[in-house]
């Protein structure tokens, strides 16, 4: 089956056999056509496909979905980097199944947004993405949303129908953002006020906070870099001053950057920081970096005063006992 232009399909399956029927020939077709063929799946599905494809499996690049689908913005960055590494002119054909189980509601919504953003991120490419959805385990909400985030529904490996429910990614993303809009944190003892020329003081205070809360050196660098960019944006577009509020809970360090607003209407970017900017682009790098370096982001970008809340997962799920040394 030959297609041109970007293709993004959801494959709903209810058994291992349906999964194989929908994916194996899709991958074989890709190999026969000389495409770059990538399958990002659970270990179980990788094993099934490896057996089904036999010797052809060697030409498929497999990746574990638990490593690949860690945080939505970073996964988008990862796909972007992967496609950029390939030879120009070669189509990249992907079977990619995000991890939906064990996610919080917040994370689930961001993964839904991710599935929608893919349509914009690769719109100009020739890549072909097939996303399997397991009808046995996924909630009705996730399955219904798949129809809103994929322009097409796959019927087996070689045919498809348009999804009648497909939503424009800008509308879909705006809806998620509206549901994600963070209530401002109340003032706290760790608040860091900032204004023009004071970003170094914010970085110092932030690094100290991260250290006191047992953040690893690498994640501290990420956090400092991400918050710095948000602060610089706030100074530049948000009226020149604001406050960074810090919280920690057992799962995350949370950094909230609030500005007072410039009271001048700056055109809002369509997908702020969600899509990789061109290396030579004049803007958009700061917010892209913010999303790449933090784990989750909730935002309310408003010319009258913006709130950006960044979540950094603390290393290790288990809290160390009081007084123990954290590496």
């Amino acid at each position: 089956m030959t297609r041109t232009g970007f293709v993004h399909q959801a494959l709903c399956y209810g058994s291992d056999q349906e999964f194989l029927t929908g994916t194996a020939d899709f991958l074989r077709d890709g190999l026969d056509a000389g495409d770059v063929v990538l399958a990002v799946l659970s270990g179980h599905h990788i094993a099934l496909l490896t057996e089904e494809l036999g010797s052809k499996a060697r030409d498929v690049e497999f990746a574990d979905s638990r490593d690949w689908y860690d945080y939505p913005s970073r996964t988008l960055g990862r796909y972007h980097a992967y496609c950029r590494r390939q030879d120009k002119g070669r189509r990249v054909r992907v079977v990619g199944e995000p991890v939906w189980t064990g996610r919080t509601e917040f994370e689930t919504q961001e993964w839904m947004r991710y599935e929608s953003l893919v349509n914009v991120a690769f719109a100009a490419s020739d890549h072909w993405l097939l996303c399997p959805y397991d009808t046995r385990t996924l909630t009705a909400n996730v399955l219904a949303t798949a129809r809103r985030t994929h322009p097409e529904l796959a019927l087996g490996a070689r045919s498809s129908e348009p999804s009648g429910d497909y939503a424009d990614p800008a509308d879909f993303s705006a809806q998620v953002t509206a549901e994600r809009r963070p209530d401002p944190l109340p003032a706290g003892p760790d608040d860091i006020r900032f204004c023009r020329g004071r970003s170094a003081a914010v970085r110092r205070a932030l690094a100290g906070y991260a250290r006191r809360h047992g953040m690893s050196a690498q994640r501290t660098y990420d956090m400092v870099a991400a918050v710095h960019e948000a602060v610089v944006n706030a100074v530049r577009y948000g009226g020149g001053q604001g406050v960074v509020r810090l919280r920690s809970d057992p799962e995350h360090l949370v950094c909230e950057i609030r500005d007072a607003g410039a009271h001048a209407s700056v055109p809002r970017p369509g997908f702020p920081g969600h899509l990789p900017p061109d290396a030579r682009a004049a803007g958009g790098h700061g917010l892209w970096l913010v999303r790449q370096l933090s784990d989750l982001v909730a935002e309310d970008l408003d010319p009258a005063g913006s709130v950006l809340r960044l979540y950094f997962r603390r290393s290790g799920a288990v809290q160390p006992a009081a007084g123990s040394v954290n590496s």
């Binding site: 020329g197 970085r203 870099a225 710095h228 700061g286």
Partner: protein, 297 residues
């Protein structure tokens, strides 16, 4: 990389300073010496050069022309002098006497101090550097008692570090080129081997313009030095934070050099900065070369 003790920059020199300059290239020697002598002109001092050869003042000082100095005028007015004293085989013997006399004469002629630059040749250093040792030792009381500042230049391509270390001990320390920029967060210094800039500290929205200015000058320096292709080099070994705005500046500079067939080379990039560049997609910009970790500069 050898550990270099803290340097006095030439712009920080004061009366009585007797410092050693170990230089690796003529560019480095001329950069330091030009700043030293031009600071003297600005301060009402007389500048005296004791080169290792008997050459006319205009020739010995011609490198100052590039810095906007009218050498002939300054020599005619007695503000700059050249004395071939060290050109002779026995020039080192009474060096202290010469400098004492010249310092007094400068004061007598109405100058506020004497700035003296000496260049020691291998041939004059003598057996086992004994003569040199003695003459440097004798200089100390001169610098302690008279309004005189001095730089003793040693070519590091001729004197190795094992020879220079004890000689440096006879001085008040070593002198180096002025910083291009220094603020609370960042210092920018010129490097000579290889030619480029060394940055240390943090680069953010508050000092990105200083980096832009330094980079622009460095770009001109690279374009003028085409022997090995146009290469501007930045040693980022001392940089522990750089933000997106400053990285964009490096990308712009690299693209610009690339258009001229050149490259911007970054060395000593810390892993967390490298990661930011990769995330931003700036690790594969045409004209930008990031040296692998651990590679000597």
């Amino acid at each position: 990389m050898t550990v270099v003790p803290a340097l006095t920059t030439v712009g920080q020199m004061r009366h009585g300073d007797h410092l050693l300059l170990g230089y690796d290239t003529d560019e480095e020697r001329e950069t330091v010496l030009a700043a030293f002598l031009l600071d003297g002109l600005a301060s009402g001092h007389r500048g005296l050069l004791l080169p290792p050869a008997d050459i006319p003042a205009g020739v010995a000082l011609s490198f100052l022309e590039m810095h906007g100095c009218r050498v002939d005028e300054e020599v005619a007015a007695g503000r700059l002098c050249v004395d071939g004293h060290l050109a002779g085989p026995e020039g080192l013997w009474d060096l202290d006497e010469v400098i004492r006399r010249e310092a007094r004469r400068a004061v007598g002629d109405g100058f506020l101090a004497l700035r003296v630059g000496t260049e020691i040749l291998r041939a004059q250093a003598g057996q086992g550097l004994k003569t040199l040792h003695d003459s440097e030792l004798l200089l100390d009381p001169v610098f302690a008692s008279l309004p005189v500042l001095g730089i003793c230049q040693y070519d590091r391509r001729v004197f190795d570090e094992a020879e220079l270390a004890p000689i440096a001990g006879l001085h008040h320390g070593r002198v180096g080129a002025d910083e291009v920029w220094r603020d609370d967060l960042l210092s920018i210094t010129r490097t000579f081997v290889p030619p480029g800039l060394a940055l240390a500290g943090e680069i953010d929205d508050s000092n990105v313009t200083a980096v832009a200015r330094a980079l622009q000058a460095e770009r001109a320096r690279a374009l003028a030095r085409t022997a090995h292709g146009v290469r501007a080099r930045l040693d980022l070994g001392g940089v522990h934070f750089i933000d997106v705005g400053a990285l964009r500046l490096l990308v712009f500079c690299a693209l610009d050099l690339s258009a001229a067939g050149g490259t911007l080379e970054l060395s000593g990039v810390a892993p967390h900065i490298r990661r930011v560049m990769r995330v931003a997609g700036w690790d594969r910009v045409p004209g930008l070369r990031i040296e692998p970790q651990g590679e000597p500069p």
